[in-house]
């Protein structure tokens, strides 16, 4: 079954294999021309590819540093991005600054590309806050941990943009496992009903903790969306240019009033589900090795090399950026201190609430028993 199902984007020049899997750069770095997607890469110069390459390496470094911080006891948990960098960086680069992203917990690379500060990437994992950042400032909602919920939020936000007459688009990121949740299916129903300007960006990393994608679906995930009346694309999620082009196509369609698009970015979770997980209990080494040969960063490096652009100067620049970001991340992490206990009563409601106010002052009185006279922040409460 074809996975590019919307007629305007359907090209008879495409072979079945191509329709089923959009790949613009082969694993050995060769750029393959593509009549449908090339127009979406018209502005992609070697300099822009070099920027993508830099971001891919930076987010991989952030991931490695955060994993190390978890191992050192500085973070409670970390969900690695390893292997999924191209899917996240390519799609995030396609967004306009006013577009709004609604992600799950694994999209630290999307957040980084949206301009989220490195300290903010870590707050929820260090346990100093539930709210990672100001969503309105960076146009990315705080990460959703309950699987699938954010897809409906994106749909509603997109409806709001449509009602206001703005051409802002919402994009939602979720996993292969999430496609089983009722919320995700309802989001597709709602988005289709109202032609909401929303992009469903599914990273099929083959696993939902220990469950292989085959348990969630006996068809390709991209084949589900057409049943809801939503056109879909199945793309090589480890090909950053294919991801960029496909996401741009979907964003354009949404912006132009064409409604939602579903993108299945086929990729692989190279790491454990989180730092708490032990994937040796459920997956084969051979599978990991197969996917290691499809590494998204090796691929774009090979492509740059074939263009003669993988220069020493570029390598030096990227290394310097990675080192600087990693140092920032570590310093920012160590500087994140636990908040004062009484702040846990803040922001439960927008307006004063007598029940909370009473508990807060009673707890302040309790804490005061353990303090030296005069040091209580709530002295006199």
């Amino acid at each position: 079954m074809s996975t590019i199902v919307t007629r305007p984007h359907r090209s008879d020049d495409l072979s079945d294999a191509e329709r089923d899997f959009v790949q613009l750069v082969t694993p050995d770095g060769q750029r393959r021309p593509h009549p449908v997607f090339d127009p979406f890469l018209a502005d992609v110069t070697p300099a822009l590819i070099a920027d993508l390459y830099e971001d891919l390496l930076v987010v991989r470094r952030i991931d490695a540093e955060a994993t190390a911080l978890q191992r050192q006891g500085e973070l409670g948990l970390w969900p690695p991005v390893l292997g999924q960098e191209a899917a996240q960086v390519g799609s995030a680069h396609a967004l306009r600054s006013d577009d709004f992203a609604f992600t799950s917990y694994r999209e630290s690379a999307v957040a980084y590309c949206r301009g989220v500060k490195v300290a903010d990437l870590l707050r929820i994992w260090r346990g100093t806050s539930h709210g990672a950042w100001d969503p309105y400032e960076v146009k990315i909602a705080v990460p959703a941990i309950v699987i699938g919920v954010q897809t409906l939020h994106a749909t509603g936000y997109a409806l709001g943009c449509q009602k206001k007459g703005s051409d802002t688009v919402a994009i939602t990121y979720f996993g292969d496992g999430a496609t089983s949740q009722g919320d995700v299916n309802e989001a597709m129903v709602f988005a289709a009903s109202f032609r909401a300007p929303v992009v469903f960006f599914c990273q099929n990393n083959q696993w939902a903790i220990s469950e292989p994608v085959g348990l969630q679906s006996h068809t390709r995930l991209s084949d589900r969306a057409p049943g809801f009346g939503i056109p879909s694309l199945r793309i090589d999620g480890n090909d950053v240019l294919a991801v960029l082009a496909a996401t741009r196509m979907a964003l354009d369609r949404a912006r132009g009033g064409g409604g939602p698009t579903f993108i299945e970015a086929v990729t692989y979770r190279m790491g454990p589900h989180t730092t708490s997980d032990d994937p040796t209990r459920y997956r084969d080494k051979a599978e990991l090795e197969t996917w290691a040969r499809r590494d998204p960063i090796d691929r774009i490096a090979a492509h740059l090399d074939s263009l003669g652009e993988l220069t020493d100067a570029l390598r030096a620049r990227v290394t310097a950026t990675c080192d600087a970001v990693a140092a920032d991340l570590r310093a920012a992490c160590l500087a994140l201190d636990p908040p004062h206990p009484l702040t846990m009563f803040d922001n439960v409601y927008a307006h004063p609430h007598s029940g909370i106010d009473r508990q807060r002052s009673q707890f302040a009185a309790y804490l005061a028993m353990f303090e030296q006279p005069g040091t209580s922040p709530e002295a006199g409460a």
Partner: protein, 333 residues
Amino acid sequence: MPTLTLAKAITAGLRRSLDSDDRVLLLGEDIGALGGVFRVTDGLQRDFGADRVMDMPLAESGIIGTAIGLAMAGYRPVCEIQFDGFIYPAFDQIVSQLAKMHYRTGGTVRMPITIRVPYGGGIGAVEHHSESPEAYFAHTAGLRVVTCSNPQDAHTMIQQSIACDDPVMFFEPKRRYWTKGEVADVADPPGLGRARIVLPGIDVTVVTYGPLVATALEAAAAASADGVSIEVIDLRSLSPIDFDTVTDSVRRTGRLVITHEAQQSGGLGAEIAAVVTERCFDALRAAPVRVTGFDIPYPAASVEEHFLPDLDRLLDGVDRVLDRANSLSGWTA
């Protein structure tokens, strides 16, 4: 008598039930090859097969809804919800369907379904992994709600829950999963709905359940050094509540402190204080006191120690019922 962790005591109980009754099925996310994120189902799929220990697609409403159908087809599903905070997608199936099926069908259709839920905080987790949602379910007619505090109870109560023809919400105190204790096959264990006095005392009754039983015992030890004798009751069952055991105790001590991790408003503590006040008002020498989580969302891990009732907060509550100096001395109601 083997010594087992609380988690492994549940594993052993599940194994018993799978062994003794072919109709028992285990359903959940990551319960097969992984053995569950807490390894409670470790080895069970290997030993009983993927037909009986089934990894389910990632959808809690789906898990409970299909369990209802499986129960109607004669099976006894035991569903694992991965963490407390992920039970809500299944809320409709539990509250509107599972809980009411027997009533709605005039007793014709039984729902022998057990829903296992690791619950509570204290493990430094991210959001949605530390909640105590038991009151929602205790508030729902048609559900039995139980929780264990030690390996022996975990082992017997999981088997009793699976054998029960009513739906049972089985709350597992996740921060006590690694607590060790002796586990025996008790010939005549207390019924599923019975509370237990885990420490006799004469001055104050402390009623609790699940993860805070251990905390209450620590507090009792500290209080006894101070000359105060605390009786600790482990409720074990939150629906029904064994009020006879509680009121007998309060009639002797005259003082009641209830403690749970869950938020205070509309919680189990409110129900217990109300019933005790109704039934033994004359015996009370002080107003019942609740020491609970605050009425806020479970906070970020770095401040959770302040949210969770601990030994000091519990003893402060004990001081209140004893009319000794406490954090609210001089506080006007």
